[in-house]
Chain length 187, copies 2
DNA sequence: TCACTCATGTAATTGGTTACATGATTAG
DNA sequence: CTAATCATGTAACCAATTACATGAGTGA
């Protein structure tokens, strides 16, 4: 799991806003997204949790189960929420990689409505740009790549198209929600 | 660019089977796939090329251009092809991440027809499994994630669906090609 | 009893990013 | 003349994987 603009610590912190979790259960949760996000090793996960604890961004509680080994359940602190909030708001940079975007999506709760829309819109534009780039490469194969990489380009194009559709749909839904809210406030 | 089962060196080696390239032009090529694959830094690219050179898997030639700085163009050697071939054939492991798969696709030339089909089929099964997992998670939201991550799951599902369709189409095309070949041999 | 899941951790090594350093050419 | 593109490289730092180490309970 490489950093990119997405620091692993902050990501974990974000997951903990949803509910307290142990290192092991974080790993299991991430397993569901391994396809897009990759799976972190315990060798990175546990030290990250220790670091967060050390900075007072989380607290631990040892929970004993019958018929299972005890687990250390981590909860985010007030300070943790603060730090996450600051981190979540600032970047707005060109975080191009799919992985980073999905990780951000997983933390969607920590954005306000407008922030989320802004993120999605930004992403839409990025993917749209990539999409046209790919299309151009596919239709006008330069001497440097004749048949080569055609497969990968084609696959990338298919995914970009699907991603774009999804983003458009979501953005429509979200702006509809805004309109409904406004109607309610008027009526 | 993290390793995964996809070593960066082998990946470069694979790109060089398509045509000789300089470090800089490799970076540019990869730029087109940055969305899916991320972009490597020169700090990893150049040392990787030096290492390949050191192992006699590639050769260099300094090419001077008018009105441009000279570039070092690397070509794969016989030994390089050998090593790549061995590496490309063995793994067959569960390389779950999207990034690894796309990188593999970019090296598709280095598979024979059957090898490619095998890779795609394997991938298809993996994605199909992920797809059903995600569907299950979306439809039966466990207490642990109510609305949270719904967005990410939804997005993942959309991409998985698109990926699955693409794989099915490609596999159909490839098996059709096989049938055509057999017909030709008969007739 | 053997293997697997649950559950935590540390240490060595690898490998990548970031920042630094250089330098020519071209377009505004 | 300044910024950007082309083009290569090194060194310090940081982060992640891998391998190791432990241990209890469960199901075959």
């Amino acid at each position: 799991m490489s950093a990119g603009s997405m620091s692993f610590r902050h990501f974990i912190l974000g997951l903990l806003t949803q509910q307290p979790m142990s290192g092991y259960s974080i790993k299991c949760t991430l397993e569901n997204f391994s396809w897009l996000v990759g799976k972190p090793s315990f060798g990175s996960l546990y030290p990250a949790l220790h670091a967060l604890l050390n900075d007072n961004l989380v607290t631990v509680e040892v929970v004993t189960h019958e018929s299972k080994p005890p687990s250390k359940v981590y909860s985010i602190t007030q300070r943790g929420r603060q730090v996450l909030k600051e981190w979540v708001q600032q970047p707005a940079g060109t975080s191009t990689s799919l992985k980073d975007f999905v990780m951000r999506l997983m933390l969607a709760d920590n954005f306000d409505h407008d922030g989320l829309i802004a993120q999605l819109r930004q992403r839409r534009d990025q993917v749209a740009a990539h999409h046209t780039d790919l299309e151009h490469l596919v239709t006008t194969p330069s001497d440097s790549q004749k048949l080569q990489q055609q497969l990968a380009l084609d696959y990338g194009l298919a995914l970009a198209t699907a991603g774009l559709n999804w983003l458009d749909r979501k953005l429509d839904q979200l702006s509809e929600q805004v309109l409904l809210m406004e109607d309610l406030q008027k009526g």
